[in-house]
């Protein structure tokens, strides 16, 4: 766990993760939905792994299955960061 996890930092890691799994960088924003980004459940599993490696925050299937937008995931990770 790095010291000083900021919302900006979480946002950057998640944006980069989404691009890594194939999302269009220009389309990625807090308000973008996963459907719009063509990001599916397996992509989100990969992004969750990146988040866990980076921040030590575990996101399980039940945590993310109802989340629709990028911003909702960012907020969840920030809320769970120690």
């Amino acid at each position: 766990m790095e010291a000083g996890v900021t919302t900006d930092r979480v946002e950057q890691v998640i944006f980069d993760g989404l691009v890594e799994v194939g999302a269009d960088r220009d389309a990625v924003s807090r308000d973008a939905s996963f459907e719009d980004l063509d990001v599916d459940s397996l992509d989100l599993v990969e992004v969750s792994q990146i988040v866990e490696d980076e921040f030590g925050v575990e996101l399980e299937g039940d945590d993310i299955k109802d989340l629709k937008t990028v911003g909702e995931v960012i907020d969840l990770v920030v809320a769970r960061s120690p």
Binding site: L42, V45, E46, Q49
Partner: protein, 245 residues
């Protein structure tokens, strides 16, 4: 052999003898550094590793009962530290505890399901994240012709192996778009410790009129684990001398 530039290794569970040992040897010969997992036969595992070293390959013996809590993490952590991510996983560890269903005890049922099916789930779950990240992975589950077909006295074993085949198909579909393949092999009667007490009359039921060898199963695993098998996923390759045909 590993795709060019690939940094990683193979893990074979239950690799101290029989089919597991043969698979481990062929994967090492293909150029993979291999983890030789065993539960109780440390001498057998050490022999397999020594043979691989003698042939110029890389191998490390990794002890652990795949049924134990935390076993998957322990095995993978050890191999990742030594050789990098596990990119080929062969779930081979298997046991039998035979009995007719009316007399099959809970512990016989649980031991077989836990070892042959649940442990394969846990190693597969542990394997997938690094494979997805690498955009390459090969999982081969060693099932059996028992499961797809009946064998009196082995309802627990049949359930575990049929379950393993169903598990194989579904995981294959989940991860196919990331270059990770998941397949099974289904051996028939193969000469190993596990089949030592099976009756002689069985050969008459095999069109090839002989039992198979561990090397014949290993050859199929070698193909499924290869880069060339990149478009083969979710399938079960039967290796039984024609018995199921």
């Amino acid at each position: 052999m590993p795709p060019e530039g690939t940094h990683g290794c193979a893990l074979v569970t239950g690799a101290a003898g029989g089919i597991g040992a043969a698979i481990t040897r062929v994967l090492a010969a293909e150029g993979w550094p291999v983890g030789v997992n065993y539960r109780s036969d440390s001498d057998g595992a050490e022999r397999v590793a020594a043979e691989i070293h003698g042939d110029g390959g890389r191998a490390v013996v990794v002890a652990g009962d795949v049924r134990a809590d935390g076993a998957a993490d322990a095995l993978f952590d050890a191999l990742e530290e030594r050789f990098g991510p596990v990119l080929v996983l062969v779930n081979n560890a298997g046991v039998r505890a035979d009995g007719l269903s009316p007399q099959l005890r809970d512990d016989q049922w649980a031991r077989v399901i836990d070892t042959n099916l649940s442990a394969a789930f846990r190693t597969t779950r542990r394997a997938l994240a690094p494979m997805l990240k690498a955009r390459f992975g090969r999982i081969v589950n060693v099932a059996s012709v028992v499961g797809p077909r009946a064998n009196a006295g082995q309802s627990n074993y049949a359930a575990s192996k049929a379950g393993l085949i169903g598990f194989t198909k579904t995981v294959a579909v989940e991860v196919a778009r990331r270059g990770v393949t998941v397949n099974a092999v289904a051996p028939g009667f193969v000469e190993t410790k596990l089949t030592r007490d099976v009756g002689n009359g069985v050969v008459d039921a095999i069109p090839a009129r002989r039992v198979g060898t561990p090397e014949e199963v290993a050859a199929c695993v070698r193909f499924l684990a290869s880069d060339q098998a990149s478009y083969v996923t979710g399938t079960t390759l039967t290796v039984d001398g024609g018995m199921s045909a």
